[in-house]
Point group: C2
Chain length 126, copies 2
């Protein structure tokens, strides 16, 4: 093994984000929505992923405003204090987003090999 910094290999990471005039949907909202779907609760989802409620609320509101449709159906009060569930549109958005990410990542792996395998070779590296 040559003099490169560590035993950890170089690898790519692809980030998919959606914009209108501002950033409005990306991995952060995606994971948040997934957890809300799982727990039917914004606050429980936040606790789970270590995100503050205020941030969750902010990014969801921003996403909704930019996308033009609601992501959450929420209610307050009641025996369990309330809760939130994903709209049909949110569920579709989320599912398509994850599928799209997967296809892009698979393609990225191929392209990374094509373009950057020479880095491992450490031939002609100055």
């Amino acid at each position: 093994m040559p003099d490169s910094k560590s035993n950890v290999k170089l690898h790519p990471k692809l980030t998919l984000q959606f914009f209108t005039s501002e950033k409005c949907f990306g991995p952060g909202v995606a994971i948040l929505l997934e957890k809300i779907k799982e727990y039917n609760s914004i606050s429980k989802a936040c606790a789970q992923i270590g995100m503050s409620y205020s941030k969750a609320w902010t990014i969801i509101k921003r996403a909704e405003a930019n996308l033009g449709f609601k992501l959450l159906e929420s209610k307050t009060g009641g025996v369990d204090g309330g809760g939130a569930t994903l709209t049909k549109s949110a569920q579709r958005l989320l599912s398509e987003f994850r599928m799209c990410e997967k296809e892009l990542n698979d393609f990225c792996d191929v392209k990374f090999s094509e373009h950057f395998s020479w880095i491992d070779d450490n031939a002609n590296i100055e």
Copy 2:
């Protein structure tokens, strides 16, 4: 035109970054290297893209340490104060990076149409 927030259409943005154990190469270093190549000067490149010299220096050093090879050939002093040029490896890395980005972005455009055209349709949106 329906009630969506603005006339700006939703569009995707793909970010390609390289990691080892830490982030070490992405669009920031790429544009910086391109400007250094153009001006043969770190400081002129920084002025051009509005990046502080200290940040430029930090991200280049981090990139070099993680990649395991040098990106810049630099000299101090002399009539023009010194300067910096890209190593052959840096030039190749940069060129492959831009090509790879382009291929990924083209693919992303296709996939975005496949997965998210329904958002524009605003049918069944709640």
